[in-house]
Amino acid sequence: MKFLLVFLSAAIVNNFVLTYFLGICPFLGVSKKTEAAFSMGLATTFVMTLAAMISWLINNFILIKYNLPFLQYVTFILAIASVVQFVEMYVKKASPALYHSLGIYLPLITTNCAVLGLALFAALRNYNFIETLFFGMGAGVGFTLALIIMAGIREELELSNTPKALEGVAITLIVAGLLALAFMGFSGMISV
């Protein structure tokens, strides 16, 4: 049952965005509209799950087996970049409608620190394959959750009277701080 705990821990208790500060760039950049936030979250979740599996395979069957841990960063980032490229090509071919709504977000995911962070954390914590799979999914779900909550709040913020100097990123960061406070209520519930 550990894989379920790993999933919940990554999605809620240790939310990637609000406790580990991973994926802050899209969190600030693509959180203006709920639909865009949802599409971005979906694309990222898919890439994260895939990247987690592939980096686990590389780490366990190549890097650990041949004692090459110093190549971890280079191989992981290359694997992630290739996954993103292949997903983009596949989606473009298989479902033009989906490509139309997700397409612009896909290339940005390569430099999303949440994806590399996920691969590094999974290697650091010695998760097995199933746990890594659920860890990737959970982290993606947590990222989507944070992004959608933020987009919802920002849509309301557009209508409210914000001080001129705080408009845009500054108020978003302060709201994110309050969200992080709320998510602190979950801390310590699961320790995986």
Binding site: L18, L116, L166
Partner: protein
């Protein structure tokens, strides 16, 4: 003579824009992950700043040196491999020489690979400019990033721990605001600092968008 002066002026300008007018943290809002994550104290912020400065400087220099050899289609993958190699060097050096700092920074050292600041400077500056100008640009941006981290680390350490560089400032009776060194404090501190900078920089220069996604 005039030409040499113009050249020096150009280099000086490349160096100085990163310090303030195009500061990566406060004016471009780049590299937010380490900015928020490791600024729990001055020392952590400074170490992260130096590690990033090293990687940025070396990566920009290398990219500028080999830019004509890399085919356009695979340039990003090439830059990422260069950056990842320097990050590995920095990580191994920190682990070997400063194990305590390496432990405190944790996974955020390898995450320098995906710091958008470094890729953005490689792609938008080093790939189109000669080597000496790329070096000046990278040094300016790296130092601009580092002082931002030190400033934020200072604010958070001062209120969250009552000290600066482990030297007690507020005395024994100060009750530390623990929230400042927790994740929530990171977001709120940066938000308020950005707001203050906007307030004092006038309407035309206010920053409302991040330059990365």
């Amino acid at each position: 003579m005039a030409k040499a002066l113009a050249k020096e002026y150009e280099l000086g300008k490349d160096f100085s824009v990163g310090l303030w007018s195009e500061n990566p943290i406060f004016r471009q809002i780049l590299g937010m992950c380490p900015t928020l994550a490791v600024t729990t104290s001055v020392i952590n912020g400074f170490s992260m700043g130096m590690a990033t400065l090293f990687v940025l400087f070396m990566a920009s220099t290398t990219v500028a040196a080999i830019k004509k050899l890399v085919p356009y289609q695979v340039r990003l993958a090439g830059y990422v491999v260069i950056i990842a190699s320097y990050v590995t060097i920095a990580d191994l050096y920190l682990k070997g020489s400063f194990p305590a700092i390496s432990k405190a920074l944790g996974p955020y050292v390898p995450l320098i690979v995906v710091n958008c600041l470094i890729l953005a400077r490689s792609e938008s500056f080093a790939a189109h400019h000669p080597m000496h100008r790329s070096m000046a640009d990278a040094a300016g941006m790296g130092i601009g990033f580092a002082w931002g981290l030190v400033l934020l680390g200072g604010i958070r350490e001062l209120f969250g721990n009552g000290s600066l560089i482990d030297y007690k400032i507020f005395g024994a009776n100060y009750e530390p605001m623990v929230i400042m060194i927790l994740p929530a404090g990171a977001f709120i501190t940066l938000g308020i600092v950005l707001g203050l900078i906007n307030q004092f920089s006038g309407k035309e220069k206010m920053v409302k968008e991040t330059s990365c996604h």
